[in-house]
């Protein structure tokens, strides 16, 4: 009886506890998330700087030590404003407006050059000057030359700190820039004969325009030129415009730099239609890692995710009538229309890095509506002149392949903070 009563008590306890399951539980309202406010102020004037004509180090023969001169003439393709090249060779355009976008100001430049030591097609989008940035394309190895274009479009002097991440050491330099000055700096004196290095620049205050010009020769033949805008470290992003030629003789080469203090795991996917390439790299802190990408011919959309911020660039070599190459960088997704003026012999590479299809309207003389399937890209031939792409969530680049050489223009959003800034006040 005693045992039975105890067992009964135990069972009753179990039943009592189990029956709680049918009772509603008490819950606490979620934490307050702050007060979301929208504020608008007049943004800083929108500006763009194009580096202008390419530079040649050492004269035509390369024997004129210390000489660094511009050669030829760059073609500027401007949308929204008219601007004349500066005396220093560059082009600076500035517009003051609350409503800032590529429709207000969008510029790029191209230059075909054919000299004994400098030949190929160089093109770049002219982004807004920035206070800091990275170049991963540094190469001062045999047959290669890197020149840094640094321009101060402000009306005050400033100093730019340079930091070259070499294989064994970090080399630093400080470059004073007078107001309106554009300096051409051969990096060979800083990098030695290093064939792979990253360059970081940081101003003492106001933003500067910075570009890296790369030149290659093989024996007595010039084998390409490139003009690369700066990039910035990202945790995730995409790179569009990488088109591998059928006759590619060199695989695209990935460079990743980890500016942090701890190693970073990078997952990179290259999507080309049904083809899918996955690359996983561990990038030690403060190190530049290089890896060839085995990609099929055609356009590949590169998407990446990292455990912390990394800077990333991909080199693509092309052979037409000439050898030429280009360094591509990750670009931002456009959430609104993109406007630019297209040079000739151009193909527009549009990509959708998201998991949902998007519709865009491309206007280049005529308008056409396109549907971009998830994680896909399309190549469209566009004519010289005005080009606009309406839609949201797309990536775009201009692929230029001509007898003069090969170049890629990667447009960027043109906007300073100011309009409708959402601030969560806690």
């Amino acid at each position: 009886m005693k045992l039975f009563l105890r067992l009964l008590g135990f069972t009753a306890a179990l039943v009592a506890v189990a029956s709680l399951y049918f009772a509603p539980r008490l819950s606490i309202s979620p934490d307050l998330n702050g007060d979301l406010q929208t504020a608008s102020v007049d943004p800083m004037p929108l500006s763009a700087y194009c580096p202008g004509a390419l530079a040649e180090v050492g004269g035509e023969q390369g024997t004129d030590l210390g000489s660094i001169d511009r050669v030829g003439k760059a073609t500027f393709n401007l949308w929204g404003v008219e601007a004349e090249p500066l005396e220093n060779g560059g082009l600076f355009a500035q517009v003051k407006s609350k409503d800032q976008s590529t429709k207000l100001l969008s510029a790029n430049q191209t230059q075909a050059v054919s000299r004994p030591r400098l030949a190929g097609l160089a093109a770049t989008y002219c982004p807004m000057p920035a206070a800091q940035g990275y170049f991963l394309a540094g190469d001062s190895g045999p047959g290669s030359e890197s020149v840094l274009h640094l321009a101060n479009p402000n009306d005050v002097d400033l100093v730019v700190d340079l930091e070259l991440q070499l294989a064994e050491e970090v080399v630093q330099d400080r470059v004073p820039l007078a107001a309106g000055e554009h300096k051409l700096i051969s990096l060979v004196s800083l990098s030695g004969a290093e064939s792979s290095y990253a360059v970081r620049y940081q101003t003492s205050g106001l933003p500067v325009a910075a570009f890296m010009q790369l030149r290659e020769v093989s024996g007595l033949n010039a084998t390409g030129v490139a003009l690369v805008p700066p990039t910035k470290p990202l945790v995730a992003g995409s790179l569009v415009g990488l088109v591998v030629a059928e006759n590619a003789f060199v695989a695209p080469r990935l460079r990743v730099f980890n500016p942090g203090l701890e190693s970073v795991d990078l997952n990179l996917q290259a999507i080309n239609g049904e083809e899918f390439e996955l690359v996983q790299i561990k990038v030690p802190a403060g190190t530049l890692v290089e890896k060839d990408l085995k990609l099929p011919a055609g356009a590949s959309l590169i998407s990446f995710e990292a455990s912390a911020e990394v800077a990333l660039s991909v080199r693509n070599d092309v052979i037409t009538t000439k050898l030429d190459f280009e360094w591509l960088i990750p670009t931002e997704v456009f959430d609104r229309a993109l406007f630019l003026r297209s040079p000739g012999n151009t193909q527009l590479v549009l990509a959708n890095p998201s998991l949902t299809p998007i519709d865009v309207v491309v206007s280049s003389g005529t308008s056409q509506q396109l549907r971009l399937e998830p994680r896909s890209q399309q190549i469209i031939a566009v004519s010289r002149g005005e080009l606009s792409i309406s839609g949201s969530g797309f990536l775009a680049s201009l692929h230029i392949l001509s007898g003069a050489g090969y170049a890629v223009i990667q447009p960027l959003e043109m906007q300073n903070l100011g309009e409708s800034i959402e601030v969560l006040v806690r």
Partner: protein
């Protein structure tokens, strides 16, 4: 044979069981008194019958004082005797008592009062009293008290006074001295009689060969309060004051009366520590009585001193040596019990505490811990105290809400941390599982006799997900509640079980502190614990009041919190007492639910062997704890932990025999427990530890210089731009609150957003005005370097902002605003009361010599 003519007066007050023995002893005296008269002041029929049957004269004059009763007897007797032998109903003389007293009376004509050797009623081998005197301060003092009678004090003769019980006094002396003073407190009456006799030139003696058994009903509190003039403690205090008034020089008496309030206040901690809270009321009542009857006291002094000088009497006061000896005698060592070998340390089970300590290796204290639920404490204890039981939070423009009740625990942790408050939380998390082992072991010891079973329970608890698991996750609040819950129940249970008041008071003090800790960390569990404590008190009504009092500090601390959230129409938030409380457990198959299910199965072992009380009581606690856990809106691990502890205790109580099967079972439970602990330790992520500063050094320094009156606008730039106004050196853990999570602090959001936008855009228009209007001293920009680089340039372009460097907190600029008025934090009105109640509990919890050394203060010895 003595030729003394003696009238024996027996004063009785309705205690026939004692009167019978007294009258019997009186009848058998070798020297027969000339008259025997019984004065029954309560007109008790049984007592009157006893007097009549013994053949003694009986009068019933009504409910009179002792003096009046004796005088009534004298009036009723013929005036043919020279001595009065005063006997109380509870003082039974031995055969030759009167004879011995009479012989002493014949020693000298000046001898007027002779006192007997009073023996314990129940144990006549022990002396209860042998002469009365006073200390130099006037406190009544027994020359001999509670000692075995081995003739060691038989040489005593002259004393200051003697007890009226068994006193032989010359009739003329009685009449000259006017007997006992009616206005004198009962405990001082006989002492004052002796004083007056000495002042009048009479000699007062004791005669050790006159032996009388005395029950001491007055001193043991068995008389009514009206008889003694209040409780035992009150009567003693009155007697002390009365004798002091008579004995001390006049300036000292005046000083004494003036200093009485201070003396009462100063005595409170001592009386609490000695576990005699009754003396506090005694002294208080004595003080009020003395002030209200000051005229009577001084009249008594004048009457005594009018009889003659007291200087001769001073030589008979207790010496310092006698007082010291008396204190030592009062501590009677109880016979040594065989020392149990089942204690935590004696049985070497304490070594097992190393297991939870080792498995907490990832919590090795290294500095301030940062997590979603943890932030550093202020490094100033005073700042933590200012945020404890306070109202008003330094958030936005100031949030009118109370600070978290759990701040009491934070204050305590910081105060006892040997490495400073920076390390306090880390140290607490690290040692908590080992502490839980000790606590659970002592909890189990209340119900289990075998040390290894207690160890099994203690390990099961301390290595469970509810203790070790919580510690490894940095769940400070839940872990703290898991320590206090078993403690509150254990101490409450001990208080109820205690046989002596001193021990019960000490356990109650500890229970009060533990319950306070529980109420400020897990109020829902505290409510369950309160129910259990009150139930225990009801089961032993003598301790019910103690059980209720032990809830007071916890209730006082929780009450303002509860009322605030009730008034805010969100009473459910009152169940969460800390910003650091973690979220609700979801009902799922997880280590904690598996552990509970296995423990429920293990509890079945107690089905046959556990006592009925333990079984059904334990099951009730388990059901209660699980029910509270189910409805708990935040992390219910303390409730589940308590259920686990009780289930393990129930199961272990069923393991009685050391058989092979039981050995295998316990080994399996032990291994499983340790394996679970190791798994948790292995799986746990290391908590982030870094320097305790929450703001850049410059801001901290400015905050210290301005006593916190510094306001910083912190802008976090990522995908979402966030702006926050931060006072002083940042929101320390004690400044964060449940209220700050759920109530919107008044903040000038529009202005803050506008200022933030302007700073981000680099547009300096109106920025200076906004900075001045909001009284912002610093601007801190935080975010990934690449994300904020452009903003740094934008802000840096504003000339009126001075760059103040970069740090791990971001980039800092200083404005021209030096100081701004931080919102005020005011103490809660009940803070003093909470502190007072905790102090009382702490004093009660402090072991007194009698408690610690296993000594017991003899209550008999105090008479």
């Amino acid at each position: 044979m003595s030729a003394l003519s003696v009238a024996a007066v027996v004063v009785s007050h309705a205690k026939p069981e004692y009167l019978k023995t007294t009258l019997s002893g009186l009848s058998a005296q070798s020297l027969r008194p000339k008259h025997v008269i019984v004065v029954e002041t309560a007109a008790d029929q049984l007592s009157m019958d006893l007097a009549r049957n013994a053949g003694f004269q009986l009068i019933t004059p009504g409910n009179l004082s002792l003096n009046s009763a004796i005088n009534a007897a004298l009036d009723a007797l013929p005036k043919d005797f020279g001595w009065i032998w005063i006997l109380h109903e509870d003082s039974a003389p031995e055969l030759g008592a009167l004879h011995a007293l009479a012989q002493a009376a014949e020693i000298s004509p000046s001898v007027a009062i002779i006192g007997p050797k009073l023996l314990h009623w129940d144990d006549p081998r022990r002396i209860q009293q042998l002469g009365l005197t006073a200390t130099k301060s006037g406190k009544p003092f027994l020359l001999v008290a509670d000692q075995y009678d081995q003739g060691q004090h038989d040489s005593i003769a002259d004393t200051l006074s003697a007890s009226t019980a068994g006193m032989l006094i010359a009739l003329d002396a009685w009449q000259n001295l006017d007997g006992l003073d009616e206005q004198t407190p009962i405990y001082a009456a006989d002492l004052e009689l002796g004083l007056r006799a000495r002042a009048a030139g009479y000699r007062v003696m004791v005669e050790p060969s006159a032996r009388i058994s005395h029950a001491g009903l007055s001193m043991s509190g068995e008389r009514t309060k009206s008889w003694t003039g209040g409780s035992r403690y009150v009567a003693r205090a009155k007697a002390h004051i009365h004798i002091a008034t008579t004995l001390l020089p006049l300036p000292m008496v005046v000083l004494l009366y003036l200093a009485m309030p201070a003396i009462v206040l100063a005595g409170i901690p001592y009386h609490l520590w000695t576990k005699r809270p009754g003396r506090i009321l005694g002294q208080l009542a004595g003080w009020l009585w003395a002030w209200s009857s000051v005229g009577q006291r001084f009249a008594a002094r004048a009457r005594t001193r009018s009889l003659g000088s007291l200087s001769g009497a001073r030589t008979l006061l207790a010496s310092a040596k006698q007082i010291r000896q008396r204190k030592l005698d009062a501590l009677i060592e109880m016979p040594d019990d065989p020392k149990p070998l089942t204690g935590l340390f004696v049985s070497n089970q304490a070594w097992f505490a190393l297991l939870p300590l080792i498995l907490s290796f990832k919590l090795w204290p290294q500095g301030a811990i940062f997590s979603e639920h943890l932030a550093p404490l202020s490094n100033q204890i005073s700042e933590i105290f200012a945020s404890t039981a306070a109202f008003g939070l330094p958030i936005g423009s100031g949030l009118d809400a109370p600070t978290d009740p759990f701040n009491w625990i934070l204050l305590a942790i910081a105060a006892i941390s040997p490495l400073g408050s920076d390390w306090a939380i880390g140290t607490w998390l690290f040692i908590a599982p080992a502490l839980a082992y000790f606590i659970a072991w002592q909890f189990a010891a209340a119900f289990l006799s075998r040390p290894w079973l207690r160890t099994l329970v203690a390990l099961g608890y301390s290595l469970s997900p509810f203790v070790l698991g919580q510690a490894l996750q940095g769940n400070l609040v839940e872990l703290t509640a898991a320590l206090f819950a078993p403690l509150a129940l254990l101490f409450g249970y001990r208080a109820v079980q205690s046989q002596t008041n001193a021990r019960a008071l000490r356990w109650a003090g500890l229970a009060a502190i533990s319950f306070f800790g529980l109420a400020t960390s897990a109020p829902s569990l505290a409510a369950l614990a309160a129910l259990i404590l009150v139930s225990l008190g009801v089961s032993r009504p003598r301790r019910l009041v103690l059980q209720l009092l032990s809830l007071v500090p916890g209730v006082l601390a929780y009450l303002p919190w509860l009322s605030f959230w009730m008034a805010s129409s969100t009473p459910e938030l009152a169940l969460s007492t800390s910003w650091a409380t973690t979220g609700q457990l979801s009902l799922e198959l997880a280590p904690w639910s598996l552990v509970l299910a296995l423990a429920a199965l293990f509890a079945l072992f107690g089905l046959v062997r556990a006592s009925a009380g333990l079984w059904f009581g334990g099951l009730s606690v388990v059901v209660g704890a699980l029910a509270v856990a189910y409805f708990e809106p935040s992390n219910a691990s303390p409730q589940l932990g308590l259920a686990l502890l009780v289930l393990l205790t129930l199961g272990a109580s069923g393991i009685k025999y050391s058989s092979k099967a039981m050995a295998v079972l316990t080994a399996a439970v032990f291994s499983g427990t340790v394996a679970l602990g190791a798994y948790q330790a292995w799986e746990a992520k290391t908590l982030e530890v870094r320097e305790s500063r929450l703001m850049p050094a410059l801001v901290v320094a400015q905050a210290q210089a301005n006593l916190g009156d510094v306001l910083t606008l912190k802008i976090s730039q990522a995908e979402q731009i966030e702006a926050e106004l931060i006072w002083g050196d940042g929101l320390q853990l004690e400044q964060r609150s449940v209220a700050s999570k759920h109530l919107q602090a008044p903040t000038p959001s529009v202005e803050v957003a506008q200022l933030t936008a302007a700073l981000l855009a680099g547009n300096s228009d109106g920025v200076a005005d906004l900075v001045n209007k909001l009284e912002i001293g610093f601007i801190l920009l935080n975010g990934e370097p690449s994300a904020i680089a452009q903003t740094e340039v934008a802000i840096g372009s504003m000339e009126f902002l001075q760059p103040a460097g970069k740090s791990e907190f971001g980039t800092l600029w200083r404005t021209e605003v030096d100081s701004s008025s931080a919102p005020e934090t005011k103490p809660d009105p009940l803070r003093q009361e909470i502190i007072l109640s905790l102090l009382i509990a702490a004093l009660l919890a402090l072991p007194s010599p009698a408690v610690v050394r296993g000594y017991r203060r003899s209550r008999r010895g105090e008479e």
